[in-house]
Amino acid sequence: MYKYVIRRLLQMIPVLIGATFIIFYMVFSMPGDPTAGMCGDRGCSPAFVAQFREEHNLDDPFPLQYAKYLGNVVQGDLGTNFRNQSVGFELEQRYPITAKLALMAIAFEAVIGIIAGVLAGVRKGKFIDNLVLVSTLVVISIPVFVIGSVLQYYLGVKMGGQIFPVTYDSARPLQSLILPAFVLGSASIAYVARLTRTNLVENLRADYLRTAIAKGLTRSRAIGVHALRNSLIPVVTFIGADFGGLLGGAIVTERIFNIPGVGGFLFTGIRNHDGVSVVGTVTVLVLVFLLVNLLVDLLYGVLDPRISHD
């Protein structure tokens, strides 16, 4: 078990270096000049451009640029971006908001998704089952920006923003994240509901469930403990992997609700050819994703004793 964790942690090093290298190279090869839009209509003075390029090592050959950057990262300095913001500081400010949003979205997924899935699975073929199947299909097929804009209009704008603030309000941060979190998690809620339903239906036919009934257990215990415990193994795995993805920020949802999370920061960085912002952010996101995935894999071993990490 410990060996497994250490091996997985060591494996992250090459993945991280590879990821930073690829992202750095992609930003490096983007066409256009970072100083192009900086000084308004008149364009920047050659002196400014020269100083800017010097400051950010832009005239160095690519390998040297990359090496200099990596050297700073190893020392814990994610660098200063083209707009003179410390990337480390920006992420510190923005990451908690993204993490809260992701956690709330996951809570919606787990609670609504699993309850809907269990109701549908237990009453397979009945009204509630069809209701869940149709509604999840609708949710899955509508793009998130449509769901986001529609809910923002009807639940936010139309209701005066009292219950659900229309955009992010730093005075009531948690309240303003409820609606965005639901929007962000909507597709996954549908997937979780369907995954739970399918697995439950399958496990209700399992031999061990017949044993549970033959043991004289009540139906609710046989289903709620014996079948559900087995059915939730793939669901938990899905939710875990989804959490890792959500922690990478939600560019669309953050823009709709004007949330100052990492997604927006990353988007601005890409638009400005700002290699330092993009690479710094992505490095952190990759690291978080890998760590969450490791946790999910460990959790999988706990949920399913047949999986061994030795």
Binding site: D207, T211, A214, K215, G216, R221, H226, N230, L303, P305
Partner: protein, 347 residues
């Protein structure tokens, strides 16, 4: 469900409200089971009758689709309904009809009164819970025992069914046991609450031969020790011979022959039984063609008129295609459902 006084005691004596009269535990009377599917109605059991007494072992013998497992599941009350429908018959346990009993009352008979061991222990045990936990669940849910007391009882049961190092293995999971050990766990679970009736549905089919013998002798031992009524469902004539007192042979959802084990083996009274016995490979007939019963078991949606076995029967005459033979006494302690039972018995 449970009272506080019960949870305090670890050795709660089970006081059953069911008392057998003259040792009679189970009476199955004219039991019928149908499966209603989209393709039609499959008549899986078409009027089965038998009794089971304390300390008695009844073997139900038959090939796949003969209705032996369905009979067991109907007694246990674990048929999926729908598609299964029980249009008629009675299953009386100590005089009370299980089929008309309220579900909650019937649920409480599963485990303490009637219990069952299944064929494939690996799939029949829950893969994500430790075996001890699964055995202990019987005590926790039926007797209201606490966690540690019930686990202690589980260890004792595992020792009783001869699982080595039971104390250490109580927390192990089903996949960490061998096939034979898993079946022992199933048996431990089934006998946990001292049931009066134990149904073993092909308990050794999934095991290799040496382990089969061990499991059968364990079942026999436990049955003698606790004077349980044992219903042994199998298609294996060899398994039956050592263990059973009485044998009921099923074909197409009916009992076609019933006899004591010795009589049946020595002198079958039904052509189907005779065919089964002849199809056992014998060492002294090595090299010769194996005697098999020609044809296939009938489709349960279209059971032949008259005697269901007539298309495959070498004794069949016109009467067999027209009139269904009843299960009648043909000799003392011998019953056969065949128009030509006398000829089969003496020929």
């Amino acid at each position: 469900m449970t009272t506080d006084t019960q949870t305090r005691k670890s050795e709660t004596p089970a006081t059953s409200q069911y008392k057998p009269v003259d040792g009679l535990l189970l009476e199955v009377e004219d039991l019928r089971v149908e499966f209603h599917t989209e393709d039609g109605v499959a008549k899986a059991i078409n009027g089965v009758n038998f009794d089971l007494h304390e300390g008695e072992t009844l073997a139900i013998l038959g090939e796949s689709g003969s209705g032996k497992s369905v009979t067991a599941q109907a007694i246990m009350g674990i048929l999926d309904m729908p598609p299964a429908v029980i249009p008629g018959g009675q299953i009386r346990y100590c005089g009370q009809d299980l089929l008309t009993m309220p579900e909650e009352q019937r649920r409480k008979t599963r485990g303490p009164e009637i219990s069952m061991v299944f064929q494939d222990a690996l799939s029949s045990l829950n893969p994500v819970f430790p075996v001890g936990w699964q055995i202990a669940e019987m005590f926790r849910k039926h007797r209201g025992m606490n966690k540690s007391d019930s686990l202690e009882r589980a260890v004792k049961l595992m020792q009783r069914v001869q699982i080595p190092a039971a104390k250490e293995r109580v927390k192990a999971y089903p996949h960490q046991f061998s096939g034979g050990m898993r079946q022992r766990i199933m048996i431990a679970m089934a006998i946990a609450l001292d049931p009066a009736v134990l149904i073993a549905d092909e308990p050794t089919t999934a095991l290799d031969v040496t382990v089969q013998a061990q499991i059968m002798s364990l079942l026999q031992e436990l049955q003698e020790e606790r004077q349980m009524g044992l219903i042994l469902i199998t298609h294996d004539l060899g398994v039956v011979a050592d263990v059973a007192d009485k044998i009921a042979v099923m074909y197409a959802g009916r009992i076609v022959e019933r006899a004591d084990v010795f009589d049946l083996y020595r002198q079958p009274a039904h052509p189907y039984t005779k065919g089964l016995l002849e199809s056992i490979p014998r060492l002294d007939q090595k090299g010769q063609q194996l005697a098999a019963i020609g044809g296939l078991p009938p489709n349960l949606m279209r059971i032949p008129a008259g005697c269901a076995f007539n298309p495959r029967c070498r004794y069949a005459q016109d009467i067999c295609r027209e009139e269904r033979p009843e299960l009648l006494t043909v000799a003392p302690g011998r019953e056969s459902a065949c128009h030509f039972a006398e000829e089969v018995l003496h020929g």
